[in-house]
């Protein structure tokens, strides 16, 4: 009996230590989540404040009067801003993109000539864009955005390497299947200037047979953002806010648009 008592006396402090360890870990993680939430919100707030007060800071009073307008005129001002953005892209001899969420259309343009149209099935965007004042919105969307980088689940150019055959028999046996992408989920994210994210995904659902890298594409993107934010926080800096516009459209159109656009392209957008 004494032995047992002694044994139990030896074990107890260990368990207590474990409880403390788990408790501390849980509290630490909880604090991390809470602080992360707080700083993310703060960062988003700051971004809106910056855009909304930009007019006050930058423009002199006479110019400000010109730039401010009655809410009744917003529709016209917005139309003008959208057309101005398109006009700015007119002289570019590379392919550019027009995203019109009001009419749910996408268009590929080159030298101002629309060459491909696609209808948008569904879309959503961060509340950041609705929190902008009318004036700030028009200022921001009256010129085209530029793509800084992009990520996608499919390749931009489906290049197949073929070694030169040694003779005519080997050449006759070569057969290449065309790249159909029937079973692949197509998701494309474009990082625009102003740290905006434009995401396109196919509207058709895919039947999964197992775990694929495509399935975790967006999840992976979000994780990399979280890691980046935590890195910023560890350096005592506010994490960056990335307002997002997410558009789903037919797969064929998405492939066409993604493969047509060059690596750096201009995008003019109308949200409201």
């Amino acid at each position: 009996m004494e032995e047992i008592k002694q044994q139990s006396n030896v074990v107890r402090p260990k368990r207590k230590g474990l409880k403390w360890f788990l408790g501390t870990l849980f509290t630490f993680l909880l604090l991390l989540v809470l602080s992360y939430c707080y700083f993310s919100m703060l960062s988003a707030k700051r971004k809106i404040e910056i855009y909304n007060t930009k007019l006050d800071q930058v423009l002199v009073s006479a110019e400000k009067e010109q730039k401010t307008f009655h809410p009744a005129l917003f529709k016209l001002v917005n139309e003008k801003a959208f057309l101005s953005a398109q006009n700015s892209m007119m002289n570019s001899d590379s392919l550019n993109l027009i995203v019109d969420l009001m009419n749910s259309t996408l268009a590929l343009v080159i030298e101002g000539v629309p060459i491909h149209f696609s209808s948008i099935d569904t879309y959503e965007y961060s509340p950041f864009f609705t929190s902008l004042s009318n004036e700030a919105y028009v200022q921001l969307f009256s010129s085209p955005f530029y793509t800084e980088s992009y990520k996608s689940t499919i390749v931009k150019e489906p290049i197949t390497i073929k070694e030169a055959p040694k003779d005519t028999t080997e050449a006759a046996n070569f057969f290449e299947l065309p790249d159909t992408l029937t079973n692949e989920l197509v998701v494309v994210t474009m990082h625009l200037n102003h740290d905006f994210i434009l995401t396109f995904k196919q509207s058709e659902e895919i039947q999964y047979t197992g775990f694929t890298k495509d399935r975790f594409f967006l999840l992976g993107m979000r994780y990399s953002k979280i890691l980046d934010d935590l890195r910023q926080l560890s350096r005592l800096r506010l994490p960056k806010s990335y307002p997002e516009i997410m558009i789903s459209l037919p797969k064929d159109d998405l492939i066409t648009i993604f493969r047509a656009l060059p690596h750096t392209t201009q995008v003019s957008i109308r949200l409201r």
Partner: protein, 259 residues
């Protein structure tokens, strides 16, 4: 004696057997756990910590976007409220805006070609032929296969149709294909000298050809079953009827948009 014999010969009930087996099993399991308790304890902690971390990452994914949305929605939207409310002035401003919009629309319209032009979609392998914004022809075509032909490290060719705006540089009837080096390499044949007779092939490009420059052509094909597929070496192949229409409508200088 009889009683003792009776008790000894009494058959053991099934429950007793189960109980005995259970006790034995219990002993084995207890011994096993006692023996490897450290391993079980450590792996349990590892599992718990991993689980907690997993929960933490999950919470970051779902809580943060929700919190951000909440923050946006509850934000005081500081609008610039010092705009003029004079209705006459607003009407004036509206008139100016309408004029501006009309002029911008005109500017954009002016960019559209006034003559015939061709649009080629290399992803779907389809084409559209317009004349002054009116669609006058459409159909299947074949464009570059995206095959990179490698003949050792020194020679490489990539078979893709270039994208962008092009103009028709020249038009010919009954074109002759002067086979470049890659055509022989691809067939596993030795490369002949520049002006060798084996380089000239007649009747393989159809009845017409329109040049886009840099060796790229819009031409016909013998392999009409491949139309709609990316199988060419960079040229644009059309069927005989479409080729004739395109040849008739497009002039030297006409625009071809490839995407």
């Amino acid at each position: 004696m009889e009683e003792n014999q009776l008790t000894e010969n009494k058959p053991v009930s099934i429950w007793n057997k189960i109980l005995t087996l259970d006790k034995a099993m219990h002993e084995i399991v207890t011994r096993f756990f006692v023996r490897y308790k450290r391993i079980f304890f450590t792996s349990g902690i590892i599992l718990l910590v991993t689980g907690l971390f997993f929960l933490f990452m999950l919470s970051l994914i779902f809580i943060v976007p929700a919190a951000e949305n909440f923050s946006y929605k509850n934000m005081l939207n500081e609008r610039l409220t010092n705009y003029n409310t004079d209705s006459v002035l607003i009407k004036k401003q509206a008139k100016v805006l309408i004029k501006d919009i009309e002029s911008l629309h005109k500017k954009l319209d002016r960019k559209k070609p006034r003559s015939a032009y061709l649009i080629v979609n290399t992803s779907k392998n389809k084409f559209l032929l317009y004349n002054n914004s009116n669609l006058i022809g459409k159909g299947r075509c074949s464009t570059g296969s995206y095959i990179l032909l490698s003949n050792g490290e020194e020679q490489q060719w990539i078979f893709k149709t270039p994208k962008g705006v092009f103009t028709i540089k020249g038009k010919t009837t009954q074109p002759v294909w002067i086979k470049p080096d890659w055509a022989f390499v691809e067939e596993g044949l030795p490369i002949p000298p520049v002006a060798h007779s084996s380089r000239y092939e007649y009747g393989v490009l159809g009845d017409y050809a329109l040049s886009l420059g840099h060796g790229y052509l819009i031409h016909g094909t013998l392999y009409q079953r491949f139309l709609g597929l990316p199988v060419t070496h960079g040229c644009i192949r059309l069927n005989d009827d479409d080729l004739k229409l395109v040849y008739q409508r497009l002039n030297v200088g006409s625009k071809v948009f490839i995407y």
